[in-house]
Amino acid sequence: MTLHAIGRPLPRVDGPAKVTGSARYAADFNQSGQAYAVIVNATVGLGRITSIDSARVERMPGIVAVITHRNAPRLAYGPHKSYIDPAIGERLHVLQDEQVRFHGQPVAVVVAETLDAAEAGAAALAVTYAPERPVVDPSDPKAEQIVPEAAAQPDARIPADTSRGAADNALANAPVKVDQTYDIARENHNPMEPHATVAAWNGDRLTLWSKSQFIVNEQAEIAAVFGLPPENVQVICPFIGGGFGTGLRTWPHVTLAALAARQVGRPVKLVLTRKQMFFTTGHRPRTVQRVAIGAGRDGRLTGLVHEGAGETSRYEQFIEALTSVTGFMYSCPNLRTKYRLIPLDIGTPNHMRGPGEASGVFALECAMDELSYALGIDPIELRRRNEPEIDDAETRPFSSRSLMACFDLAAERFAWSRRTPEPRSMRDGRLLIGMGAASASYPAFHAPASARVRLLADGTAEVEAAASDMGPGTYTSMTQVAAEFLGLPPEQIRFRLGRSDYPPTPSHGGSWTMASVGSAIRAACLAVQEEAARHAIADQRSSVFGAVLDGVEWNEGHLRRRGDTSPGQSYRDIVASAGRPIEADASTQRDPEVAARYSMHSFGAVFAEIAIDPDVGTISVRRIVGAYGIGRVINPRLARSQCTGGMIGGMGMALMERTALDPRDGRPVNAHMADYLMPVNLDTPLLEAHFVDEDDPYVNPLGVKGLGEIALVGTAPAIANAIFHATGKRVRTLPIRIEDVLTA
């Protein structure tokens, strides 16, 4: 019997630590002698600091330091950009000048003996400003669209403009067409755990216990900010209480914690408040998109135009894949996309679960639904008629594409056949019932990654990588990968992550952790087996002594000559004989030749049923059923959990989430968990996630395509389409609230 760890619904290996409280998050790493830092945020949306009365606060009890741009050292801010940072522009430099660029920008940090004293000092710090009126709304007449410079480069991954055929002509001549604008609100990530950093200096070496989804980049960035060699900075983050992308970049509070610790000569702990999580830790940008689709009466698309613009800050150009999916989702000979930015007086947005795709697919999939009604063709049939043979944007085949298989599976589980197509035609008593569907897609990325495996004397193995686990179950799924390739039971694997001195890995986002880190772990397992085999072959006491490498094989953690049925040599035997642990590192990346041959994406189909009270407009989601083609599923229990979490995120996007900025001063007025609405348990219906069998030999050696993002993509348009089906009213602005459907 062969052990198979991959594909098993293993419970979370870190579950007991989490539920018993022994899992330590960044803010749990209290250091002896630590002081507490509290950030003071700008209360104007634009302008300049004219005075700060530090002296009064410095005299308050327990205050250790008040650090402002007046007394902060000029930091090195050496050049550093990872792929997670906007390519154009420069990060916010904190406490380096008197400029206020957006509401909530840090203007001071108060350090005290206790958190209470630091909070009191921060509240008492009088800062005066010469304020100006900021522009914070893309529809403000003073807001302008610009061409994103990075997207205008040739071969940009996110191109500003693409075109094939003659899209506008085709649209003009199409017998049936839709042409609409979709507006999606700014959202903030709002993970349960706020950002937190504990910073401690030892000479010119800095240790940061800090919430991060990209540990090695946090190390590199803080090294650049302070002008240190990267090896002088150690970042530690074993657990993350939810991320959704907010932990991808290293935000100003990390610099402030390190700066404060250096200024006061002792460790400093800095935890953001919930309100501060709306200021300088990124957000899903508000987007405004036009989608126009022309079709023949047979439903075949003849022309498609997708023009989208997203907000960004004045100091960085944050870009995301807003229009990227449109080029390959459906077959259409004439197609044009255009992507622009709208710089505003706000903090820089960043990636939020399903970045770009979630917003872009919403517009495209609502437009497809609108077209299905204009044509009188079932929405699934419309997609079937436009299923492409290859990726028409890249003009190469898909490594795998199961979109219609996903529609078929999900439609059956959802019982789509019970739906009557006419809007307002389905009722349950007084309630209007609506059923909607949407396609989903997200790229199957793969980034260079590395890992280390160490075989120990007791026959178990340690695996290390500088990865993160923000909740999808990285600890568990990587344990399964190592168990699979070492042929050990998962209990005999200890996987460690979350330290910058472990082998480097890419950012924990973009649905590429399993593809990248998992492939590296697989390679490290194979490498350590080869290393162990070399020892055994050279060991006179070993049953495989004298064999050649090709003449031996591993099975369930035992090394034998090929065809031999003896017990062979176990890891324990070989390590004992070697007299020390046997270790191997491996680094992997996608084969560029394969990458150039295939277009690699996950696909999915999402169905939603909603009920609307026609009297008072309340919208409730009754069911969501999704089917996904994501390559191999490492752990179906974790995968389903990730999908249902993504569906709930999509529900929030569709019906609740909106960070409302006061146009007068750029203030987020709902920066509070009671005011920034997200679904609660009572809103959350039956959620079903299914996976179609998909064998993709091209994406990576594990055959995985990633799941975290596509789990959210597709949910919001399915719900919006269901709302139209229920009411006959098309709402093209997210979130869709009671006031939008009241008069439907």
Binding site: E119, V669, A674, D675, L677, V680, L682, I738, T743
Partner: protein
Amino acid sequence: MIPFTLEKARTEQDAIRAAATGGRYIAGGTTLVDLMREEVERPERLIDINALPLGGVRVEGSDLVIGALARMAEVAAHPDVQRLQPLIAESLIEGASPQLRNMASMGGNLLQRVRCPYFRMLDAACNKRDPGTGCSAIDGLNAGHAILGTSEHCVATHPSDVAVALVALDATMRVRGPQGERRFPVEELFRLPGDTPHLEHTLLPGELILDIRVPGGPYAGRARYLKVRDRASYEFALVSAAVALDLGGGVIRSARIAAGGVGTRPWRLRACEERLAGQPPGRKAFEAAAEVAVQGARPLQHNHYKAELLPRTIVRALEMAGEVA
């Protein structure tokens, strides 16, 4: 949080004496502690009244008497409340979250502060928090604000659910202070903002809420609370309606209606009640009555929908009440 002292009151007299000299009562603390953390409330001295014998629910004749320290969850689950005044139970269950309902007292619920975001942000102008500084909401983001009872100084909505039901049912409250005991309708607890929005209620310094009395009547069997909101729990009403009908002889003998989410205080709608009296129950009569609910409403830039939603909510609540067996 700003340092404060906490005293545990052993007797009512101790509590009232301490409050008369500047102490603030604290029971469940779900509003007060929350606002203290944000430094919107800055009491120096708190008087913990949880040890006082002001809890429980009892029945006196046909009246229901609810102790000021009874917890929302306890009252909602109480068999006498569910039997005699199901409207009270329903309005409580629709409020807050389970965790908050376990902590929050009935007296504290009536005194909870408003949910206006500008009230909670120290750096925003707010006449309620800092008299004379101006109102940020009137020209700001005011989708959640009131359309009835507003002034040019304040447009914040009263947040309580159960207060709406109590006002509809003509509940009274008993309070005791340095000058002795008095009883008055719950409705009279709440002030309109006028030009003094920082004064929210009519309690005199040191007065302690003892209990709330809900009179029995012909309404209890046909009474419903309908709360319309953007998520199913832990969210304030966009609009809510507490309605109670006394039916007989094929007509509405009389009705009680109050609305939440729309007024600067729980908003009794006597004009609607009068329109229903003597009418046969049904959508036509309900709609005719509900249309007068918005008389005098002054919607702001972002909350016009409330003027549309209020009559619809009342109609639907009346239908639900009419359906009650």
